[in-house]
Amino acid sequence: MKRAFPWHIAVFLAPAFLIYTVFSALPLLDTLRLGFFTTYDSGHQTFVGLANYIKLLTDPDWSAGFWNAMHNNIKFFLIVMFVQNPIALLLAALLSMHGVRGAKGYQTLIFLPTLLSVVIIGFIWQLILSPLWGVSEKLMGFVGLADWFQPWLGDESSALITLSLISVWQFVGVPMMLIYASLIAIPDEIIEAARIEGASSWHIFWTIRLPLILPTLGLVTILTFVGNFNAFDLIYAVKGAIAGPNYSTDLLGTFFYRTFFGYQSQIGSPTMGAAVATTMFLIILSGVGVYFYFIQRKLQRFAF
């Protein structure tokens, strides 16, 4: 007997499928298409093949800006990756220990900045670090470090690092929560068994807990990667679209914004912008691809 078509599945999938298609898949496909066109002064668009991409990668004006943004973006990602995630791991490990007083309170406090708008975060930190009325110079003075104070956000050498640390401060709660959740999911029996065998806490952490949460660390890594190569809002909120000084905080996101929408007297080009967006998409796609092929596949899942 032929089974009836499972209509209920189609009905339940339809809303998500429609919304995803209309607001995510179609714009993405249209962006890919638009990257092969060029815009004339009259607003007319024609097909030019790979010309936009060739211009982006070979014309010195475009490629210098692009590679600068790419370079900054990698730096931004590495700082966030190797500062935010170890801190998150440490915090999660501490919070998941038995009998930590006020653990819930700390969790909430550490997670709180994530809920704030990036614009507010940017504004608050600009004020804190302001050389005119910021509190940081005074606070540093209490421990005798006042001479070390610099206008970090205004210095070419430190602006990007400062911004990435602000980003770490805001978002450290997310990986912390994810790692925390997987740490407390480890059954107590395993830990107890190890303890009875005479393993130290240190030993237990490195040889039992850490391997068991590797899939989560992998997830955190990939979320950090995607999030940082799409980063835009913090830079835009603090430094504007001409991510100064001397483009030292320019990320692919701000570079894309200037190209697509234009800025001040720079006239935006939807087609060139689409080429930049597609390039960003390809970078992220290949990063994620490499990750899945080499790492995610090899991670073992442990069923408890």
Binding site: P27, D61, L132, G154, D233, G244, F260, Y263, S265
Partner: protein, 416 residues
């Protein structure tokens, strides 16, 4: 981020379309979020006295988002009936793409001199597409109390200017409030304003466009040279000082001098508790003619897709009237009407600035016309280069070379 933007745009578009569809209604697109109350409480009611049956809605978008969101709405056919125009190429681009109507011969346009219309016409000067509304002027404000304590007068030459700053520094004041975190000030109210007397205003600007002068010529390098000497006179950590910080710093009475655009007057009228005056950019040598950056900044055009063009033109006619010129100049302090009407300016500092027109020659911002058209975009380049010169990170010579190289790369007359 992407998805959100699309959804938001679509929602805004739907809302605007619903508002624009009714006859007898006009929607004004603008970036002047600061003036929203003024439009709603003063300008639109004044218009409604003459035309009571036209409902006008003023819908501003934040200045930094205006150009991109307007472009999106125009492309989608959901933009308002009246479009506030940025000067020069930005609006010219809209006109070329068919998003602005030609205003040739429309009533009201006859009230504006050619020098005002130049910001919104095609390169051949034959077609105008926006009605000029207002100009801004650039110069310096000074704290009268501090100047009195120091026993100094508003400086006329660069030498005097330095003496004043030096005296303020010795007295423990911040000599000049200026920061480079936001970058645009370094170009729009420093380089193109302070530089005008060096390159002799229009003469120097036109020579660049004609290809007869280079940015590496002494009259341009001298400006960067002057700016490179300002570092010691600015507040500590000025490289992280935003425009809002600058405004606060001068309004708090700690700084002797601030480089400003005339729009700042309304801010300081509200926030500064002391008397202040204005002086134009100092001239290089005593006896030199003074030049000021007197820049047409804001105009108004008509959306060709408007469903209510008749009313839009009624509004535009009123925009060209004596009544509007008077209201605009005196209520939006720091913006000066560009029309031929005789208007008395009531605010003392705004009047002081306007009176510079009598003794100094006016010019527009150096790169506003034609020079911003190529890649690399000169406006963005100048923001970057000028901030770096102020920060002491780039030499005047390197600054000149970089701007000249970028300019000559795409501009034919500069390649000879």
């Amino acid at each position: 981020m992407q998805g959100n933007r699309f959804i938001r745009t679509a929602l805004c578009a739907a809302l605007l379309a619903a508002g624009a569809a009714q006859a007898g209604n006009l929607t004004i697109e603008s970036w002047r979020t600061d003036d929203k109350a003024l439009w709603e409480d003063v300008l639109i009611p004044a218009f409604n006295k003459k035309y009571p049956d036209v409902k006008v809605k003023f819908v501003p978008t934040a200045p930094t988002e205006y150009d991109s969101s307007l472009q999106t709405r125009l492309t989608g056919g959901t933009a308002g009936d009246l479009i506030t125009c940025r000067p020069f190429d930005k609006s010219l681009d809209l006109f070329k793409k068919g998003y602005l109507e030609s205003l040739n011969g429309k009533p009201g346009m006859q009230n504006f001199p050619d020098s005002a219309k130049v910001a919104w016409e095609t390169d051949d000067g034959k077609t105008s597409f926006c009605m000029p509304m207002g100009a801004v002027m650039h110069g310096f404000l000074y704290n009268k109390k501090i100047f009195q304590e120091l026993g100094v007068q508003p400086p006329k030459t660069i030498d005097e200017f330095h003496k004043v700053l030096e005296a303020a520094k010795k007295a423990g004041k911040v000599p000049m409030a200026l920061g480079t975190a936001d970058q645009w000030e370094a170009n729009q109210i420093v380089f193109t304003s302070v530089g005008a007397p060096y390159w002799k205003g229009e003469e120097g600007r036109k020579a660049l466009i004609a290809g007869k002068a280079r940015f590496t010529d002494p009259q341009f390098v001298a400006v960067w040279d002057e700016m490179s000497k300002w570092g010691p006179y600015l507040a500590k950590g000025y490289s992280a000082q935003t425009y809002a910080d600058t405004q606060n710093l001068f309004a708090s009475g700690k700084a002797a001098v601030v480089a400003v655009g005339s729009w700042d007057i309304s801010y300081y009228n509200q926030n500064a508790k002391f008397e202040y005056g204005a002086f134009p950019p100092p001239v290089p040598k005593a006896g030199d003619k003074c030049y000021i950056s007197d820049h047409p900044d804001i105009g108004m055009g008509v959306n060709p897709k408007s469903k209510n063009k008749d009313d839009a033109y009624k509004f535009l006619t009123w925009l060209g009237s004596q009544e509007f010129a008077d209201l605009y100049t005196n209520k939006v302090t720091g913006f000066y009407s560009l029309s031929n009407h005789l208007i008395s300016v009531k605010d003392p500092v705004a009047k002081q600035m306007l009176d510079w027109r009598k003794s100094c020659a006016s010019t527009i911002r150096l790169n506003a016309q034609i020079m911003n058209r190529g890649e690399p975009n000169m406006e963005n380049e100048l923001w970057n280069v000028n901030s770096q010169v102020l920060n002491g990170k780039m030499t005047p010579k390197d600054a000149a070379t970089r701007i000249q190289t970028g300019f000559a790369k795409w501009y034919k007359p500069q390649q000879k």
